[in-house]
C-alpha cells in the first residue's frame, strides 16, 4: 500500500562495500525481486529497508515518508526471515498475533485477524500448537502469516522458500504468488533462485557486487539481459556466450569461420571503439540443432545428450567453446555425433567483450 524508494543507498562493512549507491523504486503493490548470487548485497539492501542495518549513505522512503533513520518498528514493514524466526516459546496463535498485539490492537480484533490470516495460509488447525510440533513447511506458513497479520504497508521477504524441500518449495511458490496477487501489499523479495525470481516477480532487480545490473520485467531480464552477467546468471542452462570476430568487411562477424550477420549499429559500435571481437549471447532453446550442414550453421560435436523429458539437453563442443543446446525430445542426437547449430537470428544478443554490457 505504498511505494518504496531507495536513493543512493550505500552500506559498508569494514572495507567491503556491500551496497554501492543503489537506486530503486518499487511502485505501490508491485512484487519486486532482488536476485543475485550469495554475497551480492541483496539481503543487506533488504535489511537496510527493514531498518535492521543502518545505511552509510543515501535515503529510503516508504510512501512519502523518509524512513532512513527510523527504527524498524516505526517503518510499517513486516518481514519474513530465511530461518522463519518463529518464536519457539509461543503458540502459533500468539506468533501470528504478535504484531497486532505490539500495535495494541484490541483483543477481539487480534483474534479475528489471526483467524483470517491463518485461514489464508491454511494453518487454522494448528493455532494451539507450538512451533516445535510443526513441520518445516508449516513453520514457514506461520512465518508468512505472522508477517501478513501485522498488516504492514510493505512486506519484505528474505529467501523465505530456500529452507523448504524442492516439492514443497514449488507448492509454496505458486501459493505465495496467488496470495500476493490477492493482497495489495508492496513486496520486496530476496532470492538467489532465478526460477523463483522469474515466476514470482513483477520486476526483477539483478544484483552483482552491490550494484544493480538490470531492473526489468522477468521476461525482459531473461530475453534481453542487459549484461553478460545477467545472461549467465539467469536461465537454466545459462546463456551461451561465443566469441565473434568482426570480419574485414566490417558488417559481418565470424564465429569459428562461419559468417553471421550483425546489426549495423552493433558493427558501428565495434568500429567506433576499435574492438575486433564481441560476445554473441544465445540461449540454448534459441539454437536449432541440425544433423546436416546448412548455410549459416556452426559446426560442432555432441559431447553429452541428456534427455530431460520435455526436451533433450545437448552439451556440444564448438571449437574451444562448450555450448548448451535444446533439442526436440524426438530427435536422435547421440554423443560423439557431428552437429550443426543455427542460432535464431532475432534471439542473438551482442555484448561488449570488455564491459560485458549488452549492445542491442
Amino acid at each position: 500500500m505504498a511505494e518504496i524508494r531507495v536513493e543512493n543507498v550505500r552500506k559498508v562493512f569494514g572495507k567491503v562495500v556491500a551496497v554501492k549507491d543503489v537506486n530503486l523504486t518499487v511502485p505501490d503493490r508491485e512484487f519486486a525481486v532482488l536476485l543475485g548470487p550469495s554475497g551480492c548485497g541483496k539481503t543487506t539492501l533488504l535489511r537496510c529497508i527493514a531498518g535492521l542495518e543502518q545505511v552509510d549513505g543515501g535515503h529510503i522512503f516508504i510512501g512519502d515518508q523518509e524512513i532512513t533513520n527510523l527504527s524498524p518498528r516505526d517503518r510499517r514493514i513486516a518481514m519474513v526471515f530465511q530461518s522463519y524466526a518463529v518464536f519457539p516459546h509461543m503458540t502459533v496463535f500468539d506468533n501470528i498475533g504478535f504484531g497486532p498485539r505490539m500495535q495494541h490492537v484490541p483483543k477481539p480484533e487480534i483474534k479475528k485477524r489471526v483467524q483470517s490470516t491463518a485461514e489464508m495460509m491454511h494453518i487454522e488447525d494448528l493455532l494451539e500448537r507450538y512451533p516445535a510440533q510443526l513441520s518445516g513447511g508449516q513453520r514457514q506458513r506461520v512465518a508468512v502469516a505472522r508477517a501478513l497479520a501485522a498488516q504492514a504497508q510493505v512486506l519484505l521477504m528474505d529467501e523465505p522458500l530456500s529452507n523448504l524441500d524442492a516439492l514443497l518449495r514449488l507448492e509454496m511458490r505458486a501459493e505465495l504468488k496467488a496470495l500476493m496477487d490477492e493482497l495489495d501489499t508492496t513486496v520486496v523479495y530476496v532470492t538467489h533462485d532465478q526460477v523463483e525470481a522469474l515466476s514470482l516477480g513483477d520486476r526483477i532487480a539483478v544484483m552483482h557486487s552491490g550494484e544493480f545490473m538490470q531492473v526489468d520485467e522477468p521476461m525482459k531480464v531473461y530475453d534481453h539481459p542487459a549484461a553478460q552477467f545477467v545472461g549467465g546468471f539467469i536461465g537454466n542452462p545459462p546463456m551461451n556466450f561465443l566469441t565473434a570476430r568482426l570480419a574485414d568487411d566490417g558488417t559481418t562477424v565470424l564465429v569459428n569461420e562461419t559468417r553471421l550477420p550483425i546489426a549495423p549499429e552493433t558493427a558501428a559500435h565495434l568500429r567506433a571503439t576499435g574492438q575486433r571481437t564481441v560476445w554473441l549471447g544465445i540461449r540454448s532453446e534459441n539454437i536449432d540443432p541440425l544433423d546436416a550442414h546448412t548455410e549459416g550453421a556452426l559446426s560442432a560435436r555432441v559431447i553429452v545428450a541428456e534427455p530431460l523429458g520435455s526436451h533433450i539437453l545437448l552439451t556440444v563442443k564448438m571449437g574451444d567453446a562448450i555450448v548448451k543446446v535444446n533439442a526436440h525430445s524426438d530427435s536422435a542426437f547421440r554423443s560423439g555425433q557431428d552437429i550443426w547449430l543455427r542460432p535464431v537470428p532475432e534471439k542473438i544478443r551482442w555484448m561488449d567483450k570488455e564491459s560485458g554490457q549488452a549492445l542491442n
Partner: protein, 277 residues
C-alpha cells in the same frame, strides 16, 4: 520383545554399560549424601558406635537441633543464604548484559575483553588475601554480608559472563530482529523474546553461582569475623568438634544446594534438550 531379540548383543551390552555407569555415578554421589543424612539424624551413641548400621534404627533431630543452636550456626546459615542470593542477583544483573553484548555485538577489543574476563580467575586467592583484607577494612566492607557477596560476585562473574554469552549466542538473532520488525523496541524484544528463551541457560548459570558462593570458604573466612558464612564457620569451628557436629554440619551444607537444584532442574533439562548448542 521382538525388537529386543533383533537388536544385536553388542548394542545390548553397550546399553547395559551405559546404565551401569550411570548407576555407578549416581551411587558415588548418593551414598555419601545418604550416609551423612542418616548420621545427622542419628543419636550420639549410634554415631560413635561401630559398626554403624546402614539402615537407621532410630532417628532423632536432636543432633541437628543442638548443632544449629550452637556456634551461631543458624545465623551462619542465614548469612550464607543471603550472601549466595545477593551474589547470584548481582552477578546475573552485571554478567548477563555483558554476556549479551559479547554475543550480539562486534566491538573493538572483543577478544582482549574475553581474555581479560578469564584472567581475573588466574590470580590465586591466597596471594590476594592480604591486600584484599586491607582494602576491605579501608572501605569498611570487612565483616559485612555485602562485602562477602561482592567478593563472591567477583569470583563468579567470569563464568557468568561466558556462560550467559554462550546462552545468548544460542538464541537466533533473527528471532530478535523479527520482534523488532513486528513492533518491539530493543527492550521489549529482549523481554518478550530473548529473556524467556534464555531463562534455562540463565538458571543454569545461577545454580553455578549459588553453589560457588555457598561452598566458598577461603574468601569468606578471611573477610569476616562475626558474620561468617556456613562453610567459613565450619572450617574454623569444626576441626576440633565432635563427629556429631561434623555430620550435622555436612548435612546442613548439602540441603540448600539440593533444594535449589530441585527448583531450577526443570530449566536445566530444557537447557540440555534444546537451548544450548
Amino acid at each position: 520383545m521382538k525388537s529386543r531379540v533383533k537388536s544385536s548383543y553388542s548394542q545390548l551390552i553397550r546399553k547395559g554399560l551405559v546404565y551401569l555407569a550411570a548407576i555407578g555415578v549416581a551411587l558415588f554421589i548418593l551414598i555419601p549424601i545418604y550416609l551423612i543424612t542418616v548420621m545427622a539424624f542419628s543419636p550420639e551413641d549410634v554415631i560413635y558406635g561401630y559398626p554403624k548400621p546402614f539402615i537407621p534404627q532410630q532417628l532423632t533431630a536432636e543432633t541437628i537441633l543442638f548443632f544449629l543452636n550452637s556456634y551461631k550456626m543458624l545465623d551462619s546459615v542465614r548469612i550464607s543464604m543471603i550472601v549466595a542470593i545477593v551474589t547470584l542477583v548481582i552477578s546475573l544483573l552485571v554478567g548477563a548484559p555483558a554476556g549479551y553484548a559479547l554475543a550480539r555485538y562486534i566491538f573493538a577489543g572483543q577478544d582482549a575483553y574475553r581474555i581479560l574476563i578469564l584472567s581475573t580467575r588466574a590470580f590465586p586467592m591466597v596471594i590476594l588475601s592480604i591486600p584484599l583484607a586491607q582494602t576491605y577494612i579501608q572501605w569498611h566492607l570487612d565483616d559485612t554480608i555485602m562485602g562477602v557477596a561482592l567478593m563472591h560476585t567477583a569470583m563468579a562473574l567470569p563464568t557468568t559472563i561466558l556462560v550467559t554469552s554462550s546462552v545468548f549466542v544460542g538464541i537466533s538473532k533473527e528471532l530478535e530482529e523479527a520482534a523488532l520488525t513486528l513492533g518491539c523496541s530493543r527492550f521489549t524484544a529482549f523481554r518478550r523474546i530473548i529473556l524467556p528463551l534464555a531463562l534455562p541457560g540463565l538458571a543454569a548459570s545461577a545454580i553455578f553461582t549459588f553453589v560457588l558462593s555457598w561452598n566458598e570458604v577461603f574468601a569468606a573466612a578471611i573477610l569476616t569475623v562475626h558474620n561468617r558464612t556456613m562453610p567459613a564457620r565450619l572450617i574454623v569451628g569444626l576441626g576440633g568438634s565432635p563427629a556429631t557436629f561434623k555430620f550435622a554440619g555436612g548435612f546442613i551444607m548439602l540441603v540448600p544446594a539440593i533444594v535449589f537444584m530441585f527448583f531450577v532442574r526443570r530449566y536445566l533439562f530444557s537447557l540440555w534438550g534444546i537451548k544450548l548448542k
